[in-house]
């Protein structure tokens, strides 16, 4: 194939994947909500509630603060754009990501950090102390989570010998899944970080609006209408991305290595199944834990850091 065709193919795949993940993300949020409700003997929302919410928010009149500058408007847009662009970096159904060569895992982490930077900056723009509090806490937790995330990713990347997610998944598929103790430790460490990064209990409570406890919600408290829809949607995409990343790194079974329709179908079903299993895990963790005090989060993160380091040590020494 010529480079031109290559580029077109990558662009097409990127569009398809971004569209698919964008469409699926609200469902994941609702499914977790629903399962949580069931665990509490409640009915829970209908499965399509996530879409109804987004549709309603997008139709509403945007209300923006008089104090704020253009940064306030640009923040959610950038957050959304970053989440959308990040979808092109992660293999989902194929053992390849559309833009996998652009910088691998580090670019994925960096892109999500870019979105966070934009949202945290925008939160400072309204003059409300909530925004500042949320931004401060969110950046704090992100800073603490980053080394553990990097170490966990390192541990799994070293097994395959590449930071390129496409190469990594292909190597893992070739070698088959080994339940090496290092994998289990690294997975446990990364799972904790995913919980922290997606703002779930025990680090943050997505359902709270109590001043003293909210983190992410405080940051986006001033947003309304379509702006809020962007933030909610992007957060859902981000969560789906993180779960997909875990699936890719630790259980790539079933992922398609060719473009045969049957293989792709199997891969998509497998992906949905694996993400669902992880969603159950997230739900169980959320339902059986209490939210930690902000200043206890470092302990949680350091456990994860320790697990990552141990995983490296076990595998390579």
């Amino acid at each position: 194939m010529t480079p031109m065709q290559d580029a077109l193919l990558a662009a097409g795949a990127a569009l398809l994947q971004a569209g698919g993940l964008l469409a699926a993300a609200p469902l994941l949020k609702t499914v977790i909500k629903k399962m949580k409700a069931r665990l509490q003997n409640r009915q829970g929302p209908p499965l399509l509630q996530g879409y109804y919410d987004l549709a309603k928010l997008l139709r509403k009149e945007p209300v923006r603060s008089e104090v704020a500058s253009w940064i306030y408007v640009a923040g959610p847009r950038m957050y959304f754009a970053a989440a959308l662009a990040a979808t092109t970096l992660v293999p989902v159904a194929f053992a390849a990501a559309p833009l996998e060569a652009a910088g691998g895992i580090l670019l994925l982490v960096g892109t999500l950090a870019l979105g966070r930077f934009a949202l945290a900056t925008a939160a400072l723009d309204t003059g409300s102390p909530f925004g500042g509090m949320g931004a401060s806490r969110d950046m704090t937790i992100a800073a603490l989570a980053e080394p553990a995330l990097m170490l966990g990713l390192f541990a799994s990347a070293l097994a395959a010998g590449s930071m390129n997610l496409g190469v990594l998944v292909r190597t893992l598929v070739q070698e088959g899944v080994t339940l090496h103790p290092a994998d289990i430790l690294a997975f446990a460490g990364l799972f904790m970080i995913v919980i922290a990064e997606t703002g779930r209990i025990p680090v943050d409570n997505p359902a709270t609006h109590l001043e003293l406890t909210m983190i992410h919600e405080a940051m986006v408290l001033e947003y309304a209408g379509p702006d809020l829809a962007l933030v909610e949607w992007a957060s859902a995409v981000k969560e789906l991305l993180y779960l997909t990343l875990l699936v890719d790194l630790f259980m790539p079974v079933g992922i398609a290595t060719s473009a045969a329709p049957a293989a792709v179908l199997v891969a998509i079903v497998a992906w949905v199944g694996k993400v669902f299993v992880l969603a159950i895990a997230v739900t169980v963790v959320e339902s059986t834990n209490a939210k930690l005090r902000l200043f206890r989060v470092p302990e949680l993160v350091s456990i994860s850091l320790g697990l990552g380091f141990l995983a490296l040590a076990i595998r390579f020494l």
Binding site: R77, L84, T140, L151
Partner: protein
């Protein structure tokens, strides 16, 4: 063209010399002497940058003569090697916008009678630094080094009425001269062993061996480490950089520290033979320590220029970490890894110079507009100074290492080198790499927090003081350099392949490295995607991001969607600047979490006149412990003073005693001479 290249460096230095003299002679006419100093500086920097670009492109060094004394047959030569050319190019790239910015800035921010002195010192400082980079022998190098140091000290003391400025300049001089002393000792040892003063001879790597080599490494590491601002030799930097006029601070933070980095490259890493594993460990640990402590200290600063100065320490650390990884690789004979690490380190030298120059110039504009350096007094500046704000935002994004700006590729490459390092070094030593990588990740995430704070508190929401609400956008001549540097941040972020390619010749010229051509084409097992930093893919990812922005804008800015402006909800009260989140509050959670590092002290006084139950005023004071100043330099300082007191006995002011010293010395010398002949 070739002729111009051959005389470019001496000509540039001649222009600088003339300009210094002219500036001092025209001291009475502030406007004229500003242009005499800065215009000439722009011209000379453009010339040297041109020469540097030529050397980088062609990959061959340019040699020549700067000065020759016929009677004694002493010659001062220069040599623009690809490595010097890289630093020279960085210098030119920053010196031109800084000088352009200064033409207007000095008019507003420097007292008229001092214009000539400041202009002349600036030109001398840049000239001295150029000599450092191109010097071909010890004498020229040390002369350039000293001119640069003295001129910088003069600039730091520009506002010498203030005690803080004088103290900063004094501290800078003392620390610099401790460093210079180490360098002189090191160079003299090398020179006497090699029997020559020229760099090619003494830095060939075969001059000394055995334990002597380690001693020399230590001397040079301290000597250059002081200039590079590495912890624990950094104490002067956060004092001196903020004290100078802002555009000079920009130059100091962006380029002057690279004098130290250049020395570390030239001498410590590639001039003393194959590096020892322990040297590499020293580099890696000092680099990581500087990075993490630098950013932690930066996070708690409320003086914008001090904040930026601490972040310079952080970046200097990242650069050294890359170099340390390269030395580790060289020690184990892994030339591919060494090439990647050296490329990462040199790329970060360039990138840091660009974004730090940008941020310091932006901070300078803000300080000029508001008359204060205190972040808590800014606020709302995005509306008053939109262009400065936009450029500062670009710099903040770049320094946080976020994708599609130039901070990302060099951090990416550093991570890549650390990952490679793990898989290609033997034994337990390899565990240093993931440890360093985890700390580097922490550093860059903390840097993001630090710059969300610096930008958000300074530029967004309500103005926090009268001065901030009356600030004005800076004049065009000050905005153009900001725009240029911001454009460079974005351009090099989107097309990092250009930089990698330029680095090919530089890495090829260093002993023990593979030319990075193989690297660019992706000859690395671990990171076959190094090719990805070619021009297409980051740009394509940029398109993906742009696509996302278009979608999100289409969703929120549809036609028929009327936007309503409303006051921010203030929980029933009225929101004022006083109810805004402050910079101190923003970094408080991190201050508490990293309490073991900061060891903060806190004092809360409630002032009540009538009864303790009706408090009129609460005074809050918090301070972090200056660990290095107190526990490292404190005892050293006390020791020095005590020794000086002891020596006072010798210098009692008695003529008889002095005569006796002379006699004793003469007798000892005679005995010694008698013994040797």
């Amino acid at each position: 063209m070739d002729g111009l290249v051959a005389v470019g460096v001496p000509l540039a230095l001649a222009i600088r010399l003339t300009s210094v003299v002219a500036t001092l002679m025209l001291a009475r006419h502030a406007r004229v002497c500003r242009w005499a100093a800065l215009g000439a500086s722009i011209l000379a920097s453009a010339m040297t940058a041109g020469v540097a670009a030529y050397v980088i492109a062609s990959g061959t060094a340019i040699d020549g003569m700067l000065f020759r004394h016929a009677a004694s047959e002493s010659v001062l030569g220069y040599s623009v090697t690809p490595l010097s050319a890289w630093f020279l190019m960085v210098l030119g790239l920053i010196a031109v916008p800084v000088a352009l910015y200064s033409t207007d800035y000095f008019a507003h921010a420097v007292a008229r009678p001092r214009t000539a002195a400041v202009g002349a010192a600036f030109t001398a400082m840049v000239g001295g630094l150029e000599v450092v980079f191109v010097a071909d022998g010890v004498i020229a190098f040390l002369c350039g080094w000293e001119v640069m140091t003295l001129a910088t000290a003069a600039l730091v003391a520009t506002e010498h009425e203030s005690r803080a400025s004088r103290r900063a300049a004094y501290l800078f001089l003392v620390m610099s001269h401790v460093g210079t002393g180490c360098l002189v000792a090191g160079f003299m040892t090398l020179a006497s062993a090699a029997g020559s003063l020229s760099f090619p001879a003494i830095l060939s790597g075969h001059v000394v061996s055995g334990p002597m080599r380690h001693g020399l490494f230590a001397l040079f590491f301290i000597g250059f480490g002081v200039k590079a601002g590495l912890i624990p030799f950094h104490v002067w930097l956060p004092e001196a950089h903020p004290a100078a006029p802002s555009s000079v601070s920009a130059f100091m933070s962006a380029v002057l520290i690279t004098a130290g980095i250049y020395g570390l490259f030239r001498v410590c890493a590639f001039g003393l033979g194959t590096p020892d594993v322990n040297w590499a460990l020293v580099f890696m640990s000092v680099g990581t320590l500087s990075a993490i402590l630098g950013v932690l200290y930066a996070l708690t600063q409320t003086d914008i220029k001090r904040l930026l100065a601490y972040s310079t320490i952080e970046n200097s650390g990242i650069i050294s970490l890359g170099l340390g990884a390269a030395m580790m690789a060289l020690a184990h004979g892994r030339s591919t890894l060494a090439t990647v690490a050296v490329a990462a380190s040199l790329m970060h030298v360039l990138n840091h110079a660009i974004f730090k120059g940008l941020l310091f110039l932006g901070a300078g504009s803000v300080v000029m507009a508001t008359g204060t350096r205190h972040i808590e007094q800014f606020g709302g500046l995005m509306r008053r100074m939109p262009w400065t704000g936009l450029c500062f935002l670009v710099g903040a994004l770049a320094i946080s290492g976020l994708p599609l700006l130039n901070g990302f590729p060099s951090e990416w490459l550093t991570f890549q080198a650390l990952l490679l390092g793990f898989s290609s070094t033997p034994g337990m030593i390899r565990l240093n790499f993931p440890l360093a990588a985890a700390l580097l990740a922490l550093t860059s995430a903390l840097a993001a927090a630090c710059f969300v704070r610096a930008f958000g508190i300074s530029f967004l929401a309500f103005p926090r003081s009268q001065a901030a609400s009356e600030a004005h956008e800076s004049p065009a001549l000050m905005l153009v350099p900001l725009g240029f540097l911001a454009a460079l941040c974005m351009g090099l972020g989107l097309f990092p392949g250009v930089v990698l390619r330029a680095l090919e010749g530089v890495t090829a010229s260093l002993p023990g490295l593979q030319p990075s051509a193989a690297m660019v084409r992706g000859g690395l097992g671990m990171s076959s995607n190094l090719t990805s930093f070619d021009h297409v893919v980051p740009a394509m990812f940029g398109l993906a991001l742009l696509g996302g922005l278009i979608v999100s804008t289409a969703l929120t800015a549809r036609r028929g969607l009327a936007v309503r402006q409303a006051p921010t909800w203030g929980c029933g009260g009225e929101l004022t600047p006083r109810s805004e989140y402050t910079a101190t509050a923003f970094s408080k959670p991190l201050l508490m979490i990293f309490g073991a590092v900061y060891r903060p002290t806190r004092q809360v006084d409630a002032v009540a006149e009538v009864s303790p139950y009706f408090v009129d005023e609460v005074r809050y004071r918090t301070e972090i412990e200056p660990t290095f100043e107190r526990y490292l330099y404190g005892p050293v300082l006390r020791g020095v003073i005590q020794m000086a007191r002891g020596m006072k006995v010798l210098q009692a002011g008695s003529l008889h005693a002095y005569l006796a010293y002379v006699l004793v010395l003469a007798v000892i010398l005679l005995m010694w001479l008698g013994g040797t002949t």
